[in-house]
Protein backbone atom coordinates (compact mmCIF):
# COMPACT_ATOMS: atom_id res chain seq x y z
CA UNK A 1 0.00 0.00 0.00
CA UNK A 2 2.60 2.52 1.10
CA UNK A 3 5.14 3.71 -1.49
CA UNK A 4 7.78 6.40 -1.72
CA UNK A 5 7.12 9.83 -0.22
CA UNK A 6 5.29 12.05 -2.73
CA UNK A 7 4.80 15.06 -0.45
CA UNK A 8 7.50 16.46 1.80
CA UNK A 9 6.66 19.14 4.33
CA UNK A 10 9.80 20.49 5.97
CA UNK A 11 9.93 22.79 9.01
CA UNK A 12 6.69 24.44 7.96
CA UNK A 13 5.59 27.49 9.93
CA UNK A 14 2.20 28.93 8.97
CA UNK A 15 1.29 32.42 10.12
CA UNK A 16 -1.23 35.15 9.40
CA UNK A 17 0.80 38.30 9.91
CA UNK A 18 2.30 38.05 13.37
CA UNK A 19 -0.07 35.30 14.48
CA UNK A 20 1.60 31.90 14.20
CA UNK A 21 -0.88 29.07 13.61
CA UNK A 22 1.53 26.13 13.44
CA UNK A 23 5.26 26.20 14.04
CA UNK A 24 8.04 24.13 12.56
CA UNK A 25 6.18 20.98 11.57
CA UNK A 26 7.62 18.31 9.27
CA UNK A 27 6.02 15.23 7.80
CA UNK A 28 5.86 13.13 4.65
CA UNK A 29 2.98 11.63 2.74
CA UNK A 30 3.66 8.36 0.94
CA UNK A 31 2.38 7.32 -2.44
CA UNK A 32 -1.01 5.60 -2.39
CA UNK A 33 -1.83 6.21 1.25
CA UNK A 34 -4.80 7.96 2.76
CA UNK A 35 -3.21 10.53 5.02
CA UNK A 36 -5.37 12.52 7.42
CA UNK A 37 -4.53 15.77 9.17
CA UNK A 38 -6.71 15.95 12.26
CA UNK A 39 -7.15 18.02 15.36
CA UNK A 40 -9.65 20.15 17.20
CA UNK A 41 -11.31 23.24 15.79
CA UNK A 42 -8.92 26.13 15.23
CA UNK A 43 -5.73 24.07 15.45
CA UNK A 44 -4.68 24.97 11.89
CA UNK A 45 -5.61 21.85 9.88
CA UNK A 46 -7.08 23.76 6.94
CA UNK A 47 -4.31 26.34 7.16
CA UNK A 48 -1.68 23.62 6.78
CA UNK A 49 -3.62 22.18 3.82
CA UNK A 50 -3.80 25.59 2.14
CA UNK A 51 -0.04 25.95 2.53
CA UNK A 52 0.46 22.47 1.10
CA UNK A 53 -1.54 23.31 -2.03
CA UNK A 54 0.26 26.61 -2.54
CA UNK A 55 -2.58 29.00 -1.72
CA UNK A 56 -0.46 30.61 1.01
CA UNK A 57 3.28 31.07 1.22
CA UNK A 58 4.73 29.67 4.44
CA UNK A 59 6.38 32.01 6.95
CA UNK A 60 9.16 29.44 7.09
CA UNK A 61 9.86 25.99 5.71
CA UNK A 62 8.85 24.37 2.47
CA UNK A 63 6.44 22.02 0.73
CA UNK A 64 7.62 19.72 -2.05
CA UNK A 65 5.37 17.59 -4.23
CA UNK A 66 6.82 14.75 -6.30
CA UNK A 67 10.25 16.07 -5.34
CA UNK A 68 9.56 19.54 -6.79
CA UNK A 69 9.55 22.45 -4.41
CA UNK A 70 6.20 24.26 -4.55
CA UNK A 71 7.24 26.91 -2.05
CA UNK A 72 8.82 29.81 -3.94
CA UNK A 73 8.49 28.09 -7.33
CA UNK A 74 8.39 30.25 -10.46
CA UNK A 75 5.05 30.68 -12.22
CA UNK A 76 5.59 28.02 -14.87
CA UNK A 77 6.92 25.38 -12.47
CA UNK A 78 4.25 26.24 -9.93
CA UNK A 79 1.50 25.72 -12.51
CA UNK A 80 3.02 22.38 -13.52
CA UNK A 81 3.09 21.26 -9.88
CA UNK A 82 -0.49 22.47 -9.36
CA UNK A 83 -1.67 20.28 -12.22
CA UNK A 84 -0.17 17.22 -10.53
CA UNK A 85 -2.82 17.28 -7.81
CA UNK A 86 -6.50 18.02 -7.37
CA UNK A 87 -8.30 19.76 -4.53
CA UNK A 88 -11.78 19.37 -3.10
CA UNK A 89 -12.75 22.32 -0.94
CA UNK A 90 -14.92 22.20 2.14
CA UNK A 91 -17.99 23.62 0.36
CA UNK A 92 -17.20 21.91 -2.94
CA UNK A 93 -16.35 25.23 -4.65
CA UNK A 94 -18.04 24.19 -7.90
CA UNK A 95 -18.60 27.07 -10.30
CA UNK A 96 -22.25 27.90 -9.79
CA UNK A 97 -22.91 29.19 -13.30
CA UNK A 98 -21.64 25.97 -14.92
CA UNK A 99 -23.18 22.52 -15.10
CA UNK A 100 -21.32 19.59 -13.52
CA UNK A 101 -20.14 18.62 -16.99
CA UNK A 102 -18.73 22.11 -17.63
CA UNK A 103 -17.11 22.15 -14.20
CA UNK A 104 -15.28 18.88 -14.89
CA UNK A 105 -14.43 19.88 -18.46
CA UNK A 106 -12.89 23.20 -17.43
CA UNK A 107 -9.39 21.87 -16.55
CA UNK A 108 -9.49 19.71 -19.70
CA UNK A 109 -10.34 22.75 -21.84
CA UNK A 110 -7.56 24.79 -20.33
CA UNK A 111 -4.75 22.26 -20.14
CA UNK A 112 -5.29 19.65 -22.84
CA UNK A 113 -5.64 19.64 -26.62
CA UNK A 114 -8.46 17.10 -26.55
CA UNK A 115 -11.32 17.73 -29.00
CA UNK A 116 -14.68 18.61 -27.49
CA UNK A 117 -16.14 15.11 -27.89
CA UNK A 118 -13.19 13.56 -26.09
CA UNK A 119 -13.40 16.12 -23.30
CA UNK A 120 -17.06 15.33 -22.85
CA UNK A 121 -16.32 11.61 -22.73
CA UNK A 122 -13.64 12.13 -20.08
CA UNK A 123 -15.94 14.38 -18.05
CA UNK A 124 -18.79 11.83 -18.17
CA UNK A 125 -16.36 9.07 -17.17
CA UNK A 126 -15.15 11.11 -14.17
CA UNK A 127 -18.71 11.87 -13.13
CA UNK A 128 -19.57 8.17 -13.48
CA UNK A 129 -16.70 7.33 -11.10
CA UNK A 130 -18.46 9.34 -8.40
CA UNK A 131 -21.93 8.16 -9.46
CA UNK A 132 -23.11 11.46 -10.92
CA UNK A 133 -23.12 10.84 -14.68
CA UNK A 134 -26.91 11.10 -14.71
CA UNK A 135 -26.63 14.64 -13.34
CA UNK A 136 -24.00 15.84 -15.82
CA UNK A 137 -26.12 18.74 -17.08
CA UNK A 138 -27.41 19.83 -13.67
CA UNK A 139 -26.27 23.06 -12.07
CA UNK A 140 -24.54 22.56 -8.70
CA UNK A 141 -27.31 24.46 -6.90
CA UNK A 142 -29.79 21.72 -7.85
CA UNK A 143 -27.77 19.04 -6.03
CA UNK A 144 -27.44 18.04 -2.38
CA UNK A 145 -24.30 18.86 -0.36
CA UNK A 146 -22.99 15.30 -0.66
CA UNK A 147 -23.51 15.25 -4.42
CA UNK A 148 -21.74 18.59 -4.76
CA UNK A 149 -18.76 17.19 -2.88
CA UNK A 150 -18.66 14.12 -5.10
CA UNK A 151 -18.84 16.36 -8.16
CA UNK A 152 -15.97 18.40 -6.72
CA UNK A 153 -13.95 15.18 -6.43
CA UNK A 154 -14.77 14.40 -10.08
CA UNK A 155 -13.51 17.84 -11.11
CA UNK A 156 -10.38 17.41 -8.98
CA UNK A 157 -9.71 14.13 -10.84
CA UNK A 158 -10.22 15.63 -14.30
CA UNK A 159 -6.53 15.70 -15.17
CA UNK A 160 -5.84 12.29 -13.57
CA UNK A 161 -3.73 13.64 -10.71
CA UNK A 162 -1.83 11.24 -8.47
CA UNK A 163 -2.74 13.21 -5.36
CA UNK A 164 -6.06 14.54 -4.09
CA UNK A 165 -6.37 17.04 -1.24
CA UNK A 166 -9.74 17.00 0.52
CA UNK A 167 -10.70 19.70 3.01
CA UNK A 168 -13.23 18.37 5.53
CA UNK A 169 -15.10 16.05 3.13
CA UNK A 170 -17.62 15.04 5.80
CA UNK A 171 -18.42 18.56 6.98
CA UNK A 172 -22.13 19.32 6.85
CA UNK A 173 -23.13 15.84 5.69
CA UNK A 174 -25.42 13.37 7.41
CA UNK A 175 -23.82 10.11 8.65
CA UNK A 176 -25.11 8.03 5.72
CA UNK A 177 -23.90 10.45 3.05
CA UNK A 178 -20.64 10.83 4.94
CA UNK A 179 -20.19 7.04 4.95
CA UNK A 180 -20.89 6.93 1.20
CA UNK A 181 -18.21 9.56 0.63
CA UNK A 182 -15.76 7.55 2.78
CA UNK A 183 -16.53 4.50 0.65
CA UNK A 184 -15.86 6.52 -2.51
CA UNK A 185 -12.49 7.67 -1.12
CA UNK A 186 -11.54 4.10 -0.20
CA UNK A 187 -12.59 2.88 -3.63
CA UNK A 188 -10.60 5.54 -5.49
CA UNK A 189 -7.57 4.88 -3.32
CA UNK A 190 -7.81 1.10 -3.80
CA UNK A 191 -8.62 1.05 -7.51
CA UNK A 192 -6.68 4.02 -8.84
CA UNK A 193 -3.87 4.21 -6.30
CA UNK A 194 -4.56 7.90 -5.67
CA UNK A 195 -2.79 9.44 -2.68
CA UNK A 196 -5.25 11.28 -0.44
CA UNK A 197 -4.43 14.08 1.97
CA UNK A 198 -7.55 14.78 3.98
CA UNK A 199 -8.31 17.34 6.64
CA UNK A 200 -10.93 16.07 9.05
CA UNK A 201 -11.99 15.87 12.66
CA UNK A 202 -14.75 13.31 12.09
CA UNK A 203 -13.46 10.32 14.03
CA UNK A 204 -15.80 7.76 12.48
CA UNK A 205 -14.63 8.82 9.05
CA UNK A 206 -10.96 8.87 10.07
CA UNK A 207 -11.10 5.29 11.42
CA UNK A 208 -12.79 4.21 8.25
CA UNK A 209 -10.42 5.69 5.67
CA UNK A 210 -7.09 6.71 7.19
CA UNK A 211 -3.89 4.74 6.76
CA UNK A 212 -1.94 7.28 8.75
CA UNK A 213 -2.74 10.52 10.59
CA UNK A 214 -0.99 13.45 12.14
CA UNK A 215 -2.70 15.32 14.94
CA UNK A 216 -2.21 19.06 15.32
CA UNK A 217 -2.58 20.85 18.63
CA UNK A 218 -3.67 24.43 19.12
CA UNK A 219 -1.68 24.99 22.31
CA UNK A 220 1.66 23.63 21.20
CA UNK A 221 1.11 24.75 17.57
CA UNK A 222 2.67 21.53 16.43
CA UNK A 223 2.17 17.82 15.76
CA UNK A 224 1.32 15.90 18.92
CA UNK A 225 0.78 12.48 17.39
CA UNK A 226 1.51 10.58 14.18
CA UNK A 227 0.62 7.07 13.12
CA UNK A 228 -2.28 4.66 12.72
CA UNK A 229 -5.42 6.25 14.24
CA UNK A 230 -6.59 2.96 15.78
CA UNK A 231 -3.26 2.51 17.57
CA UNK A 232 -3.23 6.12 18.71
CA UNK A 233 -6.66 5.70 20.26
CA UNK A 234 -5.51 2.74 22.28
CA UNK A 235 -1.90 3.40 23.06
CA UNK A 236 -0.95 7.06 22.97
CA UNK A 237 0.96 8.31 25.99
CA UNK A 238 -0.40 11.83 25.48
CA UNK A 239 -3.57 12.75 27.33
CA UNK A 240 -4.37 15.31 24.63
CA UNK A 241 -4.37 12.58 21.99
CA UNK A 242 -6.26 10.05 24.10
CA UNK A 243 -8.95 12.55 25.07
CA UNK A 244 -9.39 13.56 21.41
CA UNK A 245 -9.75 10.00 20.18
CA UNK A 246 -11.98 9.01 23.08
CA UNK A 247 -14.08 12.20 22.72
CA UNK A 248 -13.50 13.23 26.30
CA UNK A 249 -13.61 16.87 27.37
CA UNK A 250 -10.10 18.26 27.54
CA UNK A 251 -8.54 19.41 30.82
CA UNK A 252 -7.25 22.82 29.90
CA UNK A 253 -5.19 23.09 33.04
CA UNK A 254 -3.37 19.91 32.04
CA UNK A 255 -2.79 20.27 28.36
CA UNK A 256 -4.95 23.09 27.08
CA UNK A 257 -5.84 21.44 23.75
CA UNK A 258 -8.97 22.33 21.81
CA UNK A 259 -11.95 20.44 23.21
CA UNK A 260 -13.95 18.30 20.81
CA UNK A 261 -17.68 18.94 21.03
CA UNK A 262 -19.44 15.92 22.48
CA UNK A 263 -21.92 15.63 19.61
CA UNK A 264 -19.18 15.03 17.05
CA UNK A 265 -18.62 11.55 15.86
CA UNK A 266 -20.84 9.63 18.22
Amino acid sequence: MRGEPVINVRNLTCAYGDFVVVRDISFEVNEGEVFVILGGSGCGKSTVLKHMIGLYEPAEGSVSIHGRRLTGAGERERNEILRSFGVMYQMGALFGSMSLMQNVMLPLEEFTDLPREAREMVAVAKLAMVGLDKFAYNLPSTLSGGMQKRAAIARAMALDPGILFLDEPSAGLDPVTSAELDELIRSLSRNLGITFVIVSHELASIYSIADRVIMLDKQTKGIVAEGDPRQLREGSASETVRSFFNREPAHHADDGHCPVPAEEGA
Binding site: K50, L55, Y89, M91, A93, F95, F111
Partner: protein, 270 residues
Protein backbone atom coordinates in the same frame (compact mmCIF):
# COMPACT_ATOMS: atom_id res chain seq x y z
CA UNK B 1 -8.94 44.25 32.62
CA UNK B 2 -11.00 47.35 32.12
CA UNK B 3 -11.20 46.75 28.44
CA UNK B 4 -9.61 50.09 27.62
CA UNK B 5 -6.07 48.76 27.60
CA UNK B 6 -6.56 47.19 24.18
CA UNK B 7 -8.22 50.23 22.57
CA UNK B 8 -5.91 51.79 19.99
CA UNK B 9 -4.84 55.38 20.44
CA UNK B 10 -5.68 58.08 17.86
CA UNK B 11 -2.13 57.98 16.49
CA UNK B 12 -2.33 54.20 16.23
CA UNK B 13 -5.63 54.41 14.35
CA UNK B 14 -4.22 57.00 11.93
CA UNK B 15 -1.19 54.77 11.41
CA UNK B 16 -3.34 51.71 10.72
CA UNK B 17 -5.62 53.58 8.33
CA UNK B 18 -2.61 55.00 6.49
CA UNK B 19 -1.05 51.56 6.25
CA UNK B 20 -4.34 50.10 4.96
CA UNK B 21 -4.64 52.90 2.37
CA UNK B 22 -1.04 52.34 1.27
CA UNK B 23 -1.57 48.57 0.98
CA UNK B 24 -4.77 49.20 -1.01
CA UNK B 25 -2.85 51.48 -3.36
CA UNK B 26 -0.13 48.86 -3.83
CA UNK B 27 -2.77 46.17 -4.47
CA UNK B 28 -4.56 48.43 -6.97
CA UNK B 29 -1.35 49.16 -8.87
CA UNK B 30 -0.41 45.46 -8.93
CA UNK B 31 -3.93 44.57 -10.07
CA UNK B 32 -3.85 47.25 -12.78
CA UNK B 33 -0.56 45.79 -14.01
CA UNK B 34 -2.08 42.31 -14.06
CA UNK B 35 -5.08 43.56 -16.04
CA UNK B 36 -2.85 45.31 -18.59
CA UNK B 37 -0.76 42.14 -18.98
CA UNK B 38 -3.91 40.04 -19.43
CA UNK B 39 -5.44 42.46 -21.95
CA UNK B 40 -2.17 42.48 -23.91
CA UNK B 41 -2.19 38.68 -23.88
CA UNK B 42 -5.82 38.72 -25.02
CA UNK B 43 -4.89 40.89 -28.00
CA UNK B 44 -2.04 38.52 -28.89
CA UNK B 45 -4.10 35.35 -28.42
CA UNK B 46 -7.79 36.22 -28.94
CA UNK B 47 -8.58 32.52 -29.29
CA UNK B 48 -7.76 32.01 -25.60
CA UNK B 49 -10.43 34.49 -24.52
CA UNK B 50 -13.57 33.09 -22.96
CA UNK B 51 -15.92 34.64 -25.51
CA UNK B 52 -19.02 33.12 -23.97
CA UNK B 53 -18.24 34.84 -20.67
CA UNK B 54 -17.55 38.12 -22.48
CA UNK B 55 -20.89 37.98 -24.31
CA UNK B 56 -22.69 37.15 -21.07
CA UNK B 57 -21.01 40.12 -19.37
CA UNK B 58 -21.91 42.31 -22.40
CA UNK B 59 -25.56 41.41 -21.91
CA UNK B 60 -25.38 42.27 -18.21
CA UNK B 61 -23.41 45.50 -18.66
CA UNK B 62 -25.14 46.59 -21.84
CA UNK B 63 -28.54 45.15 -22.65
CA UNK B 64 -29.72 44.86 -19.04
CA UNK B 65 -28.61 48.44 -18.30
CA UNK B 66 -30.43 49.96 -21.26
CA UNK B 67 -33.73 50.79 -19.51
CA UNK B 68 -32.05 52.75 -16.70
CA UNK B 69 -29.66 54.43 -19.18
CA UNK B 70 -32.57 55.54 -21.36
CA UNK B 71 -34.67 56.68 -18.40
CA UNK B 72 -31.96 58.73 -16.66
CA UNK B 73 -30.68 60.11 -19.97
CA UNK B 74 -34.15 61.18 -21.05
CA UNK B 75 -34.92 62.78 -17.67
CA UNK B 76 -31.57 64.57 -17.53
CA UNK B 77 -32.05 65.98 -21.02
CA UNK B 78 -35.58 67.01 -20.19
CA UNK B 79 -34.78 68.64 -16.83
CA UNK B 80 -31.55 70.30 -17.99
CA UNK B 81 -33.28 71.75 -21.06
CA UNK B 82 -36.32 72.89 -19.12
CA UNK B 83 -34.34 74.59 -16.35
CA UNK B 84 -32.02 76.26 -18.88
CA UNK B 85 -34.92 77.34 -21.08
CA UNK B 86 -36.75 78.93 -18.14
CA UNK B 87 -33.66 80.98 -17.26
CA UNK B 88 -32.64 81.85 -20.83
CA UNK B 89 -36.20 82.76 -21.85
CA UNK B 90 -35.89 85.95 -19.79
CA UNK B 91 -33.11 87.06 -22.14
CA UNK B 92 -34.74 85.60 -25.25
CA UNK B 93 -31.96 83.05 -25.43
CA UNK B 94 -33.85 79.74 -25.24
CA UNK B 95 -32.80 79.03 -28.82
CA UNK B 96 -29.31 78.26 -27.42
CA UNK B 97 -30.58 75.43 -25.21
CA UNK B 98 -29.96 72.73 -27.89
CA UNK B 99 -26.40 74.01 -28.44
CA UNK B 100 -25.72 73.82 -24.71
CA UNK B 101 -27.40 70.42 -24.32
CA UNK B 102 -25.48 68.78 -27.15
CA UNK B 103 -22.15 70.08 -25.94
CA UNK B 104 -22.72 69.26 -22.27
CA UNK B 105 -24.05 65.78 -22.96
CA UNK B 106 -21.48 64.69 -25.52
CA UNK B 107 -18.45 66.18 -23.78
CA UNK B 108 -19.22 65.75 -20.12
CA UNK B 109 -22.48 64.50 -18.70
CA UNK B 110 -23.01 61.59 -21.08
CA UNK B 111 -19.87 59.60 -20.20
CA UNK B 112 -19.89 60.78 -16.58
CA UNK B 113 -23.47 59.83 -15.69
CA UNK B 114 -23.46 56.66 -17.82
CA UNK B 115 -20.38 55.36 -16.05
CA UNK B 116 -21.68 56.36 -12.60
CA UNK B 117 -24.77 54.31 -13.44
CA UNK B 118 -22.55 51.44 -14.57
CA UNK B 119 -20.57 51.72 -11.32
CA UNK B 120 -23.80 51.43 -9.33
CA UNK B 121 -25.19 48.63 -11.46
CA UNK B 122 -22.39 46.61 -13.01
CA UNK B 123 -19.44 47.48 -10.73
CA UNK B 124 -21.43 46.38 -7.70
CA UNK B 125 -22.63 43.24 -9.52
CA UNK B 126 -19.02 42.33 -10.42
CA UNK B 127 -17.94 42.82 -6.80
CA UNK B 128 -20.85 40.74 -5.51
CA UNK B 129 -20.31 37.93 -8.01
CA UNK B 130 -16.55 37.63 -7.48
CA UNK B 131 -16.94 38.25 -3.73
CA UNK B 132 -19.39 35.38 -3.42
CA UNK B 133 -17.04 33.17 -5.43
CA UNK B 134 -14.23 34.17 -3.04
CA UNK B 135 -16.31 33.29 0.02
CA UNK B 136 -17.33 29.97 -1.58
CA UNK B 137 -13.63 29.18 -2.26
CA UNK B 138 -14.26 29.16 -6.03
CA UNK B 139 -11.44 31.67 -6.51
CA UNK B 140 -9.13 29.39 -4.51
CA UNK B 141 -10.26 26.50 -6.71
CA UNK B 142 -9.22 28.47 -9.80
CA UNK B 143 -5.86 29.24 -8.23
CA UNK B 144 -5.14 25.63 -7.36
CA UNK B 145 -6.15 24.55 -10.88
CA UNK B 146 -3.39 26.86 -12.13
CA UNK B 147 -5.97 29.20 -13.69
CA UNK B 148 -5.52 32.92 -13.18
CA UNK B 149 -8.65 34.48 -11.60
CA UNK B 150 -7.72 37.70 -13.42
CA UNK B 151 -7.81 36.00 -16.82
CA UNK B 152 -10.80 33.86 -15.99
CA UNK B 153 -13.04 36.29 -14.08
CA UNK B 154 -11.75 39.83 -14.54
CA UNK B 155 -10.67 40.10 -18.18
CA UNK B 156 -14.08 39.13 -19.66
CA UNK B 157 -15.80 41.74 -17.48
CA UNK B 158 -13.31 44.48 -18.35
CA UNK B 159 -13.57 43.71 -22.06
CA UNK B 160 -17.35 43.69 -21.91
CA UNK B 161 -17.30 47.06 -20.12
CA UNK B 162 -14.87 48.51 -22.70
CA UNK B 163 -17.18 47.37 -25.50
CA UNK B 164 -20.42 48.42 -23.86
CA UNK B 165 -19.71 51.69 -22.01
CA UNK B 166 -19.13 53.86 -25.13
CA UNK B 167 -22.23 52.32 -26.69
CA UNK B 168 -24.26 52.99 -23.55
CA UNK B 169 -22.95 56.57 -23.54
CA UNK B 170 -24.26 57.05 -27.07
CA UNK B 171 -27.66 55.70 -26.03
CA UNK B 172 -27.61 58.01 -23.00
CA UNK B 173 -26.79 61.02 -25.19
CA UNK B 174 -29.54 60.07 -27.62
CA UNK B 175 -32.10 59.76 -24.80
CA UNK B 176 -30.99 63.14 -23.39
CA UNK B 177 -31.42 64.76 -26.79
CA UNK B 178 -34.93 63.27 -27.04
CA UNK B 179 -35.70 64.79 -23.60
CA UNK B 180 -34.39 68.17 -24.77
CA UNK B 181 -36.40 67.88 -28.00
CA UNK B 182 -39.66 67.53 -26.07
CA UNK B 183 -38.92 70.75 -24.15
CA UNK B 184 -38.01 72.67 -27.33
CA UNK B 185 -41.05 71.41 -29.24
CA UNK B 186 -43.26 72.43 -26.31
CA UNK B 187 -41.67 75.90 -26.56
CA UNK B 188 -42.71 76.02 -30.24
CA UNK B 189 -39.45 75.22 -32.02
CA UNK B 190 -39.56 72.69 -34.90
CA UNK B 191 -37.49 69.49 -35.00
CA UNK B 192 -35.22 70.73 -37.78
CA UNK B 193 -34.22 73.83 -35.79
CA UNK B 194 -33.49 71.69 -32.77
CA UNK B 195 -31.30 69.15 -34.58
CA UNK B 196 -29.41 71.77 -36.58
CA UNK B 197 -28.77 73.74 -33.36
CA UNK B 198 -27.58 70.63 -31.50
CA UNK B 199 -24.99 69.79 -34.13
CA UNK B 200 -24.10 73.38 -35.07
CA UNK B 201 -21.20 73.82 -32.71
CA UNK B 202 -20.60 70.18 -31.87
CA UNK B 203 -17.25 68.97 -33.21
CA UNK B 204 -16.13 65.41 -33.88
CA UNK B 205 -13.55 65.92 -31.15
CA UNK B 206 -16.37 66.49 -28.65
CA UNK B 207 -17.96 63.24 -29.74
CA UNK B 208 -14.74 61.19 -29.66
CA UNK B 209 -13.55 62.95 -26.50
CA UNK B 210 -16.69 61.83 -24.69
CA UNK B 211 -16.35 58.26 -25.93
CA UNK B 212 -12.70 58.06 -24.85
CA UNK B 213 -13.75 59.26 -21.41
CA UNK B 214 -16.45 56.58 -21.28
CA UNK B 215 -13.92 53.95 -22.27
CA UNK B 216 -11.46 54.96 -19.53
CA UNK B 217 -14.20 55.30 -16.91
CA UNK B 218 -15.52 51.85 -17.83
CA UNK B 219 -12.11 50.28 -17.23
CA UNK B 220 -11.94 52.00 -13.83
CA UNK B 221 -15.45 50.95 -12.85
CA UNK B 222 -15.09 47.32 -13.93
CA UNK B 223 -11.54 47.07 -12.58
CA UNK B 224 -12.38 48.40 -9.12
CA UNK B 225 -15.53 46.24 -8.98
CA UNK B 226 -13.51 43.12 -9.71
CA UNK B 227 -10.69 44.15 -7.35
CA UNK B 228 -13.09 44.73 -4.47
CA UNK B 229 -14.65 41.32 -5.21
CA UNK B 230 -11.24 39.64 -5.07
CA UNK B 231 -10.44 41.48 -1.81
CA UNK B 232 -13.58 40.12 -0.14
CA UNK B 233 -12.83 38.67 3.27
CA UNK B 234 -14.81 36.08 5.18
CA UNK B 235 -17.88 36.87 7.26
CA UNK B 236 -21.56 37.54 6.81
CA UNK B 237 -21.21 41.18 5.74
CA UNK B 238 -18.10 40.72 3.58
CA UNK B 239 -19.83 40.63 0.18
CA UNK B 240 -22.03 43.60 1.08
CA UNK B 241 -18.96 45.58 2.19
CA UNK B 242 -17.19 44.78 -1.08
CA UNK B 243 -20.21 45.85 -3.11
CA UNK B 244 -20.52 49.17 -1.28
CA UNK B 245 -16.80 49.77 -1.56
CA UNK B 246 -16.89 48.99 -5.31
CA UNK B 247 -19.55 51.66 -5.93
CA UNK B 248 -17.93 54.31 -3.72
CA UNK B 249 -14.42 53.68 -5.10
CA UNK B 250 -15.77 53.57 -8.66
CA UNK B 251 -17.47 56.98 -8.34
CA UNK B 252 -14.39 58.53 -6.69
CA UNK B 253 -12.14 57.17 -9.45
CA UNK B 254 -14.49 58.52 -12.13
CA UNK B 255 -14.46 61.96 -10.50
CA UNK B 256 -10.65 62.00 -10.32
CA UNK B 257 -10.28 60.77 -13.88
CA UNK B 258 -12.79 63.34 -15.12
CA UNK B 259 -10.73 66.10 -13.52
CA UNK B 260 -7.60 64.79 -15.22
CA UNK B 261 -9.47 64.65 -18.56
CA UNK B 262 -10.65 68.26 -18.13
CA UNK B 263 -7.08 69.47 -17.73
CA UNK B 264 -5.71 67.19 -20.46
CA UNK B 265 -8.42 68.21 -22.98
CA UNK B 266 -7.84 71.87 -22.17
CA UNK B 267 -4.12 71.58 -22.99
CA UNK B 268 -4.82 69.42 -26.06
CA UNK B 269 -7.34 71.97 -27.30
CA UNK B 270 -10.18 69.45 -27.41
Amino acid sequence: MDGREGAPSFAEMVGRKTEAAYNDLVDSVAFAGEIVANLAQSVRHPGRLRWKDILLACVRVGVDSLPIIFLIGFLMGLILSFQSAVTLQRFGGEIFVPNMLGLVMFREMGPLVTCILLAARSGSAFAAEIGTMKVNEEVDALNTMGLSPTRFLVTPKILASILMAPLMTMFFNFAALVGGLIVMISLGYPLVTYTSRVFQNLQYTDFYGGLIKALVFSILVAGIGCLRGLQTRSGASAVGDSTTSAVVSGIILIAFADGIFAVAYYYLGI
